[in-house]
């Protein structure tokens, strides 16, 4: 584990037990500023569990999670989001019954400053705050590339665009680090290509990214570094080419089979 100065997220000896089941036995890794790190592993390896622990949706049994030197243990999900550590979900996660635009406005919650009095009295401060949010929402939709869908109900969008909206929601929080859980699963190759472009754009805007993904070519293409989980343990860590040639990783994915000399 590298203890570099620009480490933003560090996971130290985190373990998660569900009763007798050990979902994560003991993992430690860190993510540096500006990186795109991939977290991969076979089904049930503990990737989403790790995500849930980092973002406060699940309490770890032991170990520490730190984000920019803030200890996240025991913080609630919304408090962690306010620190700039924002996640997306594995299944499509949008506010189905609201329009795309309203979705993003909801995501902009933390950037608004209106309180109850301002809302009920419709003060000029409230109006200007709402105007700012409206502009910001248009900006985000444009950035993600779904502004032409702004007035449609989120639930009626095609699958790929719902995933994009999920990312737009996360970006609305103004994250300094994004955790993407299977962002391109179920997308066709052209949608995936479009998404990879978007990832690059997000990274160049200064956001660090941690990514869980099954689509190996995509992971190998975009990630600087990859952490491989299997049975709740880290079995390998390194650059995409190192990981591709790591015998342990190959065994985890393809099974051992007959031993050959």
């Amino acid at each position: 584990m590298s203890a570099r100065a620009d480490t933003v997220l560090s996971i130290e000896h985190v373990a998660v037990h569900f009763g007798g089941l050990i979902a994560i036995s003991d993992i430690s890794f860190s993510v540096c500023s500006g990186e795109i790190v991939g977290l991969i592993g076979p089904n049930g390896a503990g990737k989403t569990t790790a995500f849930n622990v980092i973002t406060g949706f699940l309490k770890q049994t032991s170990g520490d999670v730190r984000y920019r030197s803030t200890l996240l243990n025991g913080l609630k999900p919304h408090e962690i989001a306010k620190l700039g550590l924002v996640r997306t979900f594995q299944r499509t996660s949008v506010f189905q019954e609201r329009t795309v635009f309203q979705n993003v406005l909801t995501g902009l919650h933390c950037r608004g400053r209106s309180n109850l009095w301002n809302i009920l009295l419709q003060t000029s401060q409230e109006k200007s705050s709402e105007r700012e949010l409206t502009n910001a929402a248009h900006g985000i939709l444009h950035f993600v590339g779904i502004e032409q869908r702004a007035e449609e109900l989120a639930g009626t969008l095609p699958y790929g665009e719902q995933r994009l909206l999920g990312v737009a929601l996360a970006l609305a929080v103004k994250p300094s680090m994004l955790l993407l859980d299977e962002p391109v699963s179920g997308m066709n190759p052209s949608e995936t290509a479009r998404f990879v472009k978007l990832l690059e754009k997000i990274r160049t805007s200064g956001v660090t990214i941690l990514l869980v993904q099954h689509d190996m070519p995509m992971v190998m293409q975009v990630c600087n570094r990859i952490v491989v989980l299997n049975y709740g343990r880290i079995i390998a860590e390194g650059t995409p080419s190192e990981i591709q040639n790591n015998p342990e990783v190959i065994r985890a994915y393809l099974g051992q089979g007959k031993k050959r000399a």
Binding site: T55, F57, K76, P77, H78, A81, K82, V86, R87, T88, F89, S93, V94, F95, Q96, E97, R98, Q102, L105, T106, G107, H109, C110, G112, S114, L116, I119, L120, Q122, E126, S129, E130, L133, G145, Q148, L169, A170, A172, V173, R194, K197
Partner: protein, 345 residues
């Protein structure tokens, strides 16, 4: 556009007492209006935060009792030789107290049930309403129990020698209308704001809401407080109108009535509880006016409800909106050739 339509509707409703001479029907409109306020308050919780409160009548009843007690005055023995008493206060002040006490109770319930959602929230709210009813029945020294609180003062408004008594039906009708408009505006402003978006986010997808930094519990408590305060105000209006309050005000059937109004009208829409409330408040009286046997009336009432829920599961208002939007979309497609999808390569 719809804003002008709304104000036109309010102006029309305000003109009703000037041409309607049937005081009985005005009475029906007043009680319907009070129930519509309660239904609107329930809609804030059920329609926007998505939490079904089946004890909503508790806030209504607490408002009614608080307003009655403060305006009548009371003495109770807290300990065997310690009495706490309140001298009779003005009915307006009593109403304000009702709003505050109901709101505070809402805060308590919101905080208490901050971790429970769905079915558990329903159970907490039902139990709460039942506990409050039992208190009203048994704490005879305070509430007179089943003997009821009588002669609750009417609301009056006096400037110099001019005195307007809200004992008269037209005046009280306008008072209820004003209260309903205020509640409507508060809810409308709320749900179109940052706070309202947070509440709807809780309804739509709670984990997603927290993941974008929304403290859902806080907004659930805010919604509960505002909802309870409005229901309390409706209760206070009721007690100063009917001028007698007994524990039957906490009956479960009143909560059910409110839920029916919200669900059939369209939960999560501003107009829903008004439409639903108007239908289910006025229809029984219309049926009665047609001299239909009470048994048949109830059957028709039930059939109407089943028909609405069966054919318009999302409620009357969303169905109409959907129909209008559908027509609009057809027109759009016919007149404007749709732009080709921008392809990003």
């Amino acid at each position: 556009m719809s804003r002008y339509l709304g104000w036109f509707l309010v102006a029309f409703l305000a003109s009703v007492p000037s041409w309607l001479n049937d005081f009985y029907f005005l009475h029906v409109l007043i009680t319907t209006g009070i129930f519509i306020i309660a239904a609107m308050s329930l809609n804030l919780l059920l329609g926007y935060t998505g939490q079904l409160s089946l004890g909503h009548v508790a806030f209504f009843g607490i408002g009614a009792y608080t307003s009655a007690l403060v305006s009548l005055g009371f003495d109770v023995h807290v300990l065997p030789d310690v009495t706490v008493g309140v001298a009779p206060k003005s009915a307006w002040f009593a109403m304000l107290c009702a709003v505050l006490v109901a709101g505070l109770t809402g805060y308590g319930i919101g905080k208490l049930s901050f971790r429970v959602r769905g079915a558990y929230f329903v159970i907490v709210s039902i139990s709460f309403a039942e506990v409050v009813r039992l208190v009203a029945v048994n704490w005879v020294e305070l509430t007179q129990g089943p003997m009821a609180l009588n002669n609750i003062p009417a609301l009056t408004f006096a400037v110099g020698t001019f005195e307007l008594s809200f004992l008269r039906k037209p005046a009280f009708y306008l008072l209820v209308l004003a209260a309903a408009v205020i509640c409507y505006v508060i809810i409308a402003r709320l749900i179109n704001s940052r706070a309202g978006r947070a509440m709807i986010a809780l309804r739509e997808n709670e984990s997603l809401a927290t993941s974008v930094g929304i403290d859902v519990t806080r907004y659930l408590v805010i919604a509960t407080v505002i909802s309870a305060a409005m229901a309390g105000m409706a209760g206070a209006l009721y007690s100063h109108y009917i001028r007698i309050v007994d524990p039957d005000i906490f009956l479960f059937i009143y909560t059910v009535t409110m839920v029916i109004m919200v669900v059939t009208g369209g939960k999560g829409t501003l107009a829903g509880p008004i439409v639903g409330g108007a239908i289910f408040g006025v229809v029984p009286e219309v049926l009665r006016a047609m001299a239909i046997e009470p048994e048949v009336q109830w059957i028709m009432y039930g059939v109407l409800m089943v028909v609405v829920v069966y054919f318009l599961p999302r409620g009357i208002v969303p169905a109409i909106e959907g129909y209008l939007a559908g027509r609009k979309r057809v027109v759009d497609v016919e007149t404007v050739p749709s732009a080709p999808e921008p392809l990003e390569k």
